[in-house]
């Protein structure tokens, strides 16, 4: 960690901040200092601890150890309200306002202008709201429900709300992810104004251009630790990305760190072909093809459209346009069942929300998708189920008290294996794996990697999404790199290196 002087003296500091959740150390005694009048970039991949740090600073979570200092004094905010009153405002990544309430009410909730008798002065509130929001380029009727505005406009309302509060510190968590270019400009101008007024901004984003354009200093988090902090201008783009992804450039040459075997050479015709997948604000004409026996990696930072591409191929994300075909036969869009029938199976990114059925046993979870094939006349053939479950529990070395144990009680790695088993039981042609090894322990990770390798050798077409560059490089035969929902590079053979991927992500191959 490189210490650097805090410009303008620190406004908000975390010192030795420790936050532990059951099983995870989200913040491992980190220190962070925000200077007065500076725009401070906070970067890191998923699970690095960014959101936890923000929540600790704004009174959503309490620290387990360490302290927060605000304007030199030790503080313990009991609630977001207290932090706001003290002058720390936050704009969350998902617009955290109330969609059913009007724009004006959202803007002023908790500090509505009062008329005589202490009642809310709506006329005055609307007038002021219109006036304020005009300054942010929002010209909609402020009486409309917030939810009827575009996401960008909603984000601008959130911004106005945060800035309105006479905040000394404004924390912005990926504020541009849903903004139109015009709105982004307005946001940047607002940030510049805040800076001029001597207010401070914590800016979380994955977009390199923005970071370098806006931010004075940067703090890089990884696995709950600060891996770098210092002036941003002195840091090369590639170096920043390598810090975020945890790859030392010198180390890149070292091979064999993962359990993936050698490359799989396949010259067969592609079994999966996706053409021009597009969805407004999400995907922009993504095309890719995967041959049988091939592992194609999908690279890119968080929010680049990796998961959305996988979901679109699996029929779980409606598309504006684009086509998916398996073995040259088009798959009807927007239907998971149709995709599964065509042999496309998706291991979703969010194991808890989209994968496991927590109330059911390991056994039921494994055969969930395959049930109709293991039934006769609607009655489950328990013998067949047992055979399938036994086969996969053994092959995947799923560690459970038995097939009857509730899946929610398993470790993350074993839950992931259960989900893999669910799809393997379907004899798929195409397997889409979205972060298959995230959040699981080293042993399970190696096992899952070996398994993916074996599956490819058996002739499966695999699309692998991973934030872990090492995994991506060693696992993939080819890598398609995404940025802002579009394909920005495709690497194959000897080109598949961490440097090349990072360069593509950073946009250094552009123009």
């Amino acid at each position: 960690m490189s210490g650097s002087p805090v410009p303008g003296g620190p406004v908000l500091e975390a010192d030795g901040a420790l936050k532990v959740f059951p099983g995870v150390t989200a913040l491992d005694r980190i220190s962070f200092a925000l200077g007065q009048g500076e725009v401070h970039a906070l970067v890191g991949e998923n699970g690095a601890g960014k959101s936890t740090l923000i929540k600790v600073l704004t009174g959503v979570y309490r620290l387990d150890a360490g302290e927060i200092r605000y304007r030199g004094e030790r503080v313990e905010f009991a609630s977001p309200l207290e932090a706001q009153r003290a002058g720390i405002s936050t704009i969350y990544q998902e617009v955290n306002l109330v969609p059913q309430m009007s724009v004006a009410r959202n803007l002023f909730l908790g500090r509505e202008p009062r008329s005589r008798f202490g009642l809310i002065d709506f006329a005055g509130m609307r007038e002021r709201a219109s006036e304020i929001l005009r300054g942010y380029g929002v010209r909609s009727d402020v009486r409309r429900p917030l939810g009827s505005l575009g996401l960008g406009a909603q984000q601008m309302v959130a911004l106005a709300r945060a800035v309105q509060a006479d905040a000394r510190v404004v924390i912005m968590d990926e504020p541009t992810s849903s903004l139109e270019p015009r709105e982004v400009d307005k946001l940047f101008r607002t940030i510049a104004e805040l800076k001029e007024q001597g207010r401070s901004v914590v800016y979380v984003s994955h977009r390199m251009e923005e970071l370098y354009r806006l931010c004075d200093r940067v703090t890089v988090l990884r696995d709950g630790r600060v891996v770098h902090t210092g002036p941003l201008a002195e840091l090369e783009r590639l170096r920043l990305i390598s810090l975020m992804l945890g790859r030392n450039l010198a180390e890149v040459a070292a091979e064999g760190l993962t359990k993936f075997g050698g490359r799989h050479h396949s010259h067969a015709a592609p079994v999966l072909r996706a053409t021009g997948l597009s969805r407004r604000h999400v995907l922009d004409g993504v095309s890719l093809a995967v041959r049988p026996g091939e592992i194609v990696g999908l690279g890119g930072l968080l929010g680049s459209g990796r998961s959305e591409t996988a979901k679109a191929i699996a029929g779980a994300l409606p598309l504006d346009s684009g086509e998916v075909a398996v073995a040259e036969k088009p798959v009807p869009g927007g239907s998971v069942a149709a995709a599964i029938r065509a042999g496309i199976n998706l291991l979703p990114e969010d194991r808890k929300a989209e994968g496991i059925i927590p109330t059911l046993s390991v056994r039921e979870n494994i055969v969930l998708a395959a049930l109709p094939r293991l039934s006769r006349a609607g009655i489950v053939s328990e013998g067949d189920v047992d055979r399938v479950v036994e086969t996969f529990m053994r092959r995947l070395r799923i560690k459970a008290a038995g097939p009857g144990q509730r899946v929610a009680e398993l470790s993350g790695g074993n839950q992931q294996k259960v989900l893999l088993a669910r799809w393997m039981a379907m004899n798929p042609k195409v397997l889409l794996l979205d972060e298959p090894t995230r959040g699981i322990d080293v042993g399970a990770k190696a096992e899952v990697q070996t398994l993916i390798d074996e599956l490819a050798k058996e002739g499966l077409a695999v699309l692998l999404i991973s934030s872990d560059l090492e995994e991506l490089v060693e696992g993939s035969d080819r890598v398609v790199v995404l940025r802002d929902g579009a394909v920005v590079g495709e690497l194959s053979g000897a080109e598949v290196t961490e440097e090349k991927i990072m360069a593509a992500i950073a946009g250094e191959n552009d123009d």
């Binding site: 995870v24 779980a316 979703p348 929300a353 927590p358 489950v380 669910r422």
Partner: protein, 318 residues
């Protein structure tokens, strides 16, 4: 990752709660039964058992359907009204014979259930409002079909309500058979597995290609049919069709039985035997208080406490 830590930290308390969640309702039934056996005169009499079981049978049947619906994270408020409708339909079609009349009644239940299911699964209305509309409307419909109480003497229907097979009332036999059928449905069929999966995690079920809409629709149809059967049985016992009062507040009794039986309102689990035990517990509680000359009002207050305790205990999980 989180779970290993939790398990290691699991103190006795967690284990006790887990045990209570799993077997609490059985323990309560056994305790109350034992209490009565010792302290209540004439409790261990065949007649008493018959009376209690005959009374609880319709509740059990309705609660079975309710358990399925709650297993999908829904609720069906229309069951009492469906009972009334079934009662009216039976009376109207009795001229064609008992069996066609019963078939029509069950069909009517299926239709109402289908309407509720369509509102929930296809239109996306919240289960509580969708079935509330049916609760209000269907009771009215039953009264329109049959404006006043009508007595009947159809021997088959009367026999259904009052005869016994080998000493066991037919009503009770039907309840037992349906319990077995629903248990089989939940445990052994594809549909049953998909039902709990949809209730446990709808998004994961969708991503696994399950027919989520069809499952939801079917669940409400089944609930409607079971309520109709309960309505027919209650009617046959009364030897009269009384759409005005038959099945009033049945939705509350059924929800109570399901919840007390350990099926969580958050879905993903259906406890068939637990539901039966829940209904039995409430019946036994009522009987105990009555036999000891404690007023009806105590029963309701005791029920309130039991419901809260059951749900509070279930809340502790995870």
């Amino acid at each position: 990752m989180t779970d290993t830590v939790l398990r290691r930290g699991a103190a006795g308390r967690t284990r006790v709660i887990a045990w209570l969640q799993e077997y609490g309702v059985y323990a309560a039934v056994v305790t109350l039964f034992a209490f009565n056996a010792v302290f209540t005169p004439h409790f261990l009499a065949v007649d008493n058992f018959r009376t209690q079981l005959v009374q609880v049978a319709p509740i059990v049947i309705v609660a079975l359907g309710m358990a399925l619906v709650i297993g999908t994270e829904g609720v069906d408020l229309s069951v009492g009204s469906v009972m009334a409708l079934a009662s009216a339909v039976v009376a109207l079609y009795l001229g064609y014979g008992a069996l066609p009349a019963i078939a029509m009644a069950v069909l009517a239940g299926a239709l109402i259930g289908g309407a509720g299911g369509a509102l929930v699964a296809v239109v996306g209305v919240q289960p509580i409002v969708a079935t509330l509309a049916l609760l209000v409307g269907v009771r009215g419909l039953a009264n329109v079909f049959l404006p006043q109480l009508r007595e009947f003497t159809n021997p088959t229907l009367v026999a259904l309500g009052s005869d016994s097979l080998a000493g066991v009332p037919i009503v009770v036999i039907v309840a037992v058979v349906l319990t077995a059928a629903v248990a089989f449905l939940v445990k052994r069929t594809t549909f049953g597995r998909q039902l709990v999966a949809v209730g446990g995690n709808r998004e994961a079920s969708r991503l696994s290609g399950l027919p989520v809409r069809r499952v939801l629709l079917t669940v409400y149809v089944l609930s409607g049919m079971l309520a109709a059967v309960a309505g027919v049985l209650a009617t046959s016992r009364l030897q009269a069709s009384d759409p005005t009062s038959l099945g009033l507040f049945m939705e509350l009794s059924a929800i109570t039985a399901v919840v007390v039986g350990g099926t969580p309102l958050t879905g993903g689990r259906v406890r068939v035997l637990g539901t039966v035990m829940g209904a039995l517990l409430m019946q036994l509680l009522q009987a105990t208080l009555i036999k000891h000359n404690l007023p009806q009002s105590w029963t309701q207050m005791a029920q309130a406490v039991i419901i809260l305790a059951a749900v509070y205990a279930a809340r502790e999980r995870r």
